[in-house]
């Protein structure tokens, strides 16, 4: 599986995503933000970090880069795209996903383990189709602005179309506000676009890819997409 990892000035999860892709046997490479071609990937990752220093607003400047035009057209043709952390913020800014990521309700940065309950009813998505939706995943967060918010009407659409991918839960999968690290609406940790090929999530699955680093739960997401891609081939 060929994986294009997009790098903006200020991105810092690019190497971690490279590492995670190697861990699951994929074939990753980096794409600098000025480039126009993505080199025919099977998957595009918009990694975390502080693109353009979070100046103006998280993700607000990165969306105007050359490479984002290619990412948009790649997703429109059904290509799978995952935006992690700052990548999620960029996808929202670019209009590829609805809503915004506001500052955490604690008004502080948070780096900690969280448990994510995959949505059992989520629509078909290459990121979710092959993972066990009953098992919560232990995946860390690291953000100052992860407080997902959408207006009520859009939230209804997201819920009705089963586009919530993950919610913050405890280790047993119980979803409650007290397990929510940032105040996001309906405990949302990650959402899908209408066709399920674009996923935005605040937690970092690329950090949960190695026993030595305390969790391999992030690999469930990577292994799902690998299997879907392999199946297509």
């Amino acid at each position: 599986m060929k994986v294009a990892i997009v790098v903006f000035p200020g991105t810092w999860s690019d190497d971690d995503c490279m590492y995670a892709m190697h861990q699951v046997g994929a074939d990753p490479y980096k794409i600098w933000h000025t480039e126009k071609s993505l080199n025919n990937p099977d998957l595009v990752i918009i990694p975390g970090g502080f693109s353009y220093g979070d100046y103006l607003r998280c993700g607000a400047i990165a969306r105007f880069s050359n490479v984002m035009k290619s990412v948009t057209s790649f997703s429109k043709s059904g290509g799978p795209v995952i935006g992690i952390c700052n990548g999620f913020q960029i996808l929202c800014e670019a209009g590829m996903l609805p809503g915004v990521l506001m500052q955490n309700d604690s008004l502080q940065f948070r780096c900690q383990d969280t448990y994510l309950k995959p949505n059992s009813n989520a629509l078909s998505s290459p990121f979710l189709d092959k993972l066990d939706r009953d098992t919560p995943l232990k995946i860390p967060i690291s953000h100052g602005s992860g407080n997902y918010f959408v207006d009520g009407k859009t939230l209804d659409i997201l819920e009705n179309q089963n586009r919530i991918a993950f919610r913050y839960s405890n280790e047993f999968g119980d979803i409650d506000q007290k397990y929510n690290p940032n105040g996001s609406i309906n405990n949302i940790a990650g959402i899908l676009n209408e066709s399920g090929n674009v996923l935005g999530m605040m937690p970092h699955p690329e950090r949960a890819c190695d026993e030595l680093l305390d969790s391999t739960d992030g690999n469930a997401i990577w292994n799902s997409i690998i299997e879907v891609v392999r199946h297509k081939e």
Binding site: W12, S13, D15, F50, G53, Q108, C111, S142, L212, L213
Partner: protein, 731 residues
């Protein structure tokens, strides 16, 4: 003749001015005087501390670059890999502008590391604050933490460890010491040197503004009530720029080493100290044209340009034939690049504004700051804080209550609310996270890991500077050994008050002696360091704080990391018997909280310490030690409680004999001790090995891993959740 007020502004004495004149054999130009004053500030010139540095042991089979030779010290960790590290203080700026003071402290130490061509893989912070009841202290605490978080998180280097200590002497003068560890291949190690006639001085990164002018000088005088007016002397950080600069410099060192002669960061005293230090290392001269320096503000004078401490700037000493390649390289990273001068073979520095010469002097005349003899009485009995007779207090009345109380003390309790504001995982190397003692960070691309810690018990140094400083080194080393790592080397940050006071001079000299002695015996040479003097407020000097940063090596980490404790596993105390005498409460957090007194006699036997540490490492090596913790602040029971809370297990401990002194046994801080979790099957063998070396080793109890875990030790009977609640109470 110079105006005395002018000299006061730049913190130079009349005697120093006369020395400048006699060295130059003429009056200095204004630009030269500014350069002299910055380089001769305590911060850059180490006027009071330099004469002590020869005491430090600086060599071992691991040491590649020693104190002062480069921006940071370097050690060989085998298989062609190198680790570099250094700690630096940013106390004065943080006292007046905590967010930017702390943020730029992080930025500065990062540049020291990547100027050497190494990739920063971890940051640690040692922080000191005053009385927490004061709103000013809370403002400083929150500002410093946000500054560290804001800068470190954005740059993408994990903040993996540190300490926070509260003592009233730091009210108004907090300490912010930041340590950075970098790694890389030996062949990518870059020197901070300028040599080769006609090679180019290229300034990259941020534009130069008026921020931080005379910051080094400001850091070298006492803080006063007027210090808030010095806020303009505090620089403002831009971590986004730093991230680009870091990537560009690391890539330059790794892929294009042949283009460059050296890299030197711009820190205290800005362009002046960076260019002169690099030229001095290379035995060269330099010529700088200030008009070529990109400026952030209009009408900046040469004086301002040479002394600005604007952040996120780096000086590249480039081979002349690669100018274009280097310009293109930094342009790719969207960084400003300007050739500002040339290297020559004169041993002189010439500063020009186009054709007008503004400074022209022998470099060594400027860089060799005068040194001052410290005046003190070398007699501990005349040292005001020394009071070897420990005043007696009553033993515990309610053991449970005392235990819960000590767990909730600001100096003991969990610092989770702080470290969860720091990204401690980015770069995917964090094996042991904050909260579990020393951090363990994988060296990317290898099976090796580095354990790292930063530590100092200011109160013990205050009681007895020599012994307290030995303890600081031993304690840092013990932190590393508790992870199974072999300690390799240390960096120090000497935070003291005004050295013109005889008690401060006594503290400083004896701290250096103590560190040196411990570093020699524990075989952890001093490879880099920093001094911050004049930490004074209206109410006096700070408690002396020689912060020790230490790095150790785990040769092969794969499969050795255990993250759970099973029901029935045993806990051993190694290094002393369980039952302790009253005097082991000397210097302890418990005793200070009961009495507010520094009375008592500290003790450490470094040869014994070394023996215990080697024993612990040997049982780790034989895979018999499972999880270990050293006993430090709060004593034995706090160490056990931390283990239980971290691993979510209960404890069923032994009962002490009738006549035992409970406070000392529970909370005494006798040195050279570890608690080690083992499997029952190894008990006999470990006991025998210990006995053969005459090392005390006793069973403290067994762990319980079931629902509703409890904690029992002698008179203590509590639920795990109640001790966890006390410990996790936010200060």
């Amino acid at each position: 003749m110079i105006d005395k007020n002018e000299l006061e502004k730049i913190a130079m004495s009349l005697e120093e001015y006369d020395l400048v004149v006699s060295r130059l054999k003429r009056e200095p130009t204004p630009v030269e005087l500014g350069m002299f004053s910055a380089l001769w500030s305590e911060h850059c010139g180490y006027k009071h501390t330099r004469p002590l540095f020869h005491l430090f042991p600086t060599e071992s089979e691991y040491v590649l670059s020693k104190t002062g030779e480069e921006n940071a010290g370097a050690i060989d960790i085998g298989d062609g890999y190198v680790a570099v590290f250094k700690a630096e203080s940013h106390n004065h700026p943080s006292a007046v502008e905590p967010y930017e003071g702390a943020a730029t402290g992080v930025g500065g130490i990062l540049r020291d590391i990547f100027a050497m061509g190494m990739r920063p893989i971890a940051l640690l912070d040692s922080l000191r604050f005053g009385d927490l009841q004061l709103s000013r202290t809370q403002y400083l605490l929150n500002g410093v933490i946000s500054g560290i978080s804001g800068y470190g998180n954005c740059v993408g280097v994990p903040t993996v460890g540190g300490e926070i200590f509260f003592d009233d002497s730091f009210t108004g003068n907090p300490l912010v010491n930041v340590m950075c560890v970098g790694v890389g291949k030996k062949e990518d190690l870059t020197s901070a040197t300028a040599s080769g006639k006609d090679n180019l001085l290229i300034l990259v990164g941020a534009d130069t503004g008026r921020d931080g002018i005379h910051g080094a000088t400001f850091a070298s005088v006492d803080l006063s009530e007027d210090s808030v007016n010095d806020r303009p002397a505090v620089q403002v950080g831009n971590p986004f720029m730093e991230k680009l600069l870091m990537e560009a410099c690391v890539e330059l060192a790794q892929n294009h080493q042949e283009w460059i002669v050296g890299i030197q960061d711009l820190g205290a005293a800005g362009l002046t100290s960076s260019s002169l230090e690099a030229a001095e290392r290379g035995g060269s001269g330099i010529e700088i044209n200030v008009t070529k320096v990109p400026q952030r503000e209009i009408a900046m004078s040469a004086y301002e340009i040479m002394l600005s401490e604007s952040q996120e700037r780096m000086l590249i000493i480039a081979k002349k034939e690669f100018e274009k390649e280097i310009v293109d390289h930094f342009n790719k990273w969207e960084l400003s690049v300007s050739v500002i001068g040339k290297v020559n073979d004169t041993n002189k520095v010439v500063v020009k504004d186009n054709d007008t010469i503004l400074a022209d002097a022998q470099i060594s005349l400027m860089t060799n700051a005068p040194t001052y003899e410290l005046k003190y009485k070398d007699d501990i009995n005349q040292y005001p804080y020394y009071n070897p007779e420990i005043l007696s207090i009553n033993d515990l009345e309610d053991a449970n209550k005392s235990f819960l109380k000590i767990l909730a003390l600001p100096n003991i309790c969990s610092k989770k609310s702080v470290y969860q504001q720091y990204d401690h995982q980015v770069l995917n190397n964090t094996i042991v996270k904050p909260g579990f003692g020393a951090a363990v960070i994988r060296v990317p691309g290898t099976d090796k890991a580095l354990a790292m810690t930063i530590d100092c018990n200011s109160r013990k140094v205050q009681m007895d500077p020599y012994c307290g400083s030995k303890i600081a080194v031993a304690e840092a080393s013990r932190n590393l050994v508790a992870t199974g790592a072999k300690p390799l080397a240390l960096t120090d940050c000497l935070n003291f008050g005004n050295p013109d006071k005889s008690e401060v001079a006594y503290q400083l000299v004896n701290a250096v002696r103590g560190i040196s002695e411990a570093a020699k015996i524990l075989e952890t040479p001093v490879i880099s360091g920093n001094a911050s003097l004049y930490n004074e407020t209206v109410s006096g000097s700070i408690a002396p704080t020689p912060v020790i940063g230490m790095v150790g090596l785990i040769d092969n980490v794969s499969n050795k990391i255990i993250r759970h404790i099973s029901n029935g596993q045993k806990l051993l105390l190694i290094g002393s018997v369980i039952n302790q005498e009253f005097n082991t409460l000397s210097g302890s957090e418990y005793y200070f909280n009961q009495t507010n007194s520094l009375s008592g006699q500290l003790e450490i036997d470094l040869e014994y310490e070394k023996k215990i540490q080697e024993f612990i490492l040997s049982i780790f090596k034989e895979e018999m030690a499972y999880i270990a913790n050293d006993i430090s602040d709060g004593g034995l029971l706090v160490a056990i409680a931390e283990m239980c809370i971290n691993y979510g297990v209960g404890f069923d401990g032994i009962d002490l004999p009738e006549n035992a002194r409970l406070d000392a046994t529970y909370f005494g801080e006798k040195e050279s001790r570890f608690i080690v979790c083992i499997e029952g099957k190894h008990l006999e063998k470990i006991m025998n090995l210990a006995a053969a070396q005459a090392i005390p080793c006793e069973v403290l109890g067994s762990f319980i891993n079931q629902t509703n875990n409890t904690f029992h030790f002698d008179q203590i009977d509590l639920s795990l959740s109640s001790i966890a609640d006390a410990y996790n109470q936010i200060f």
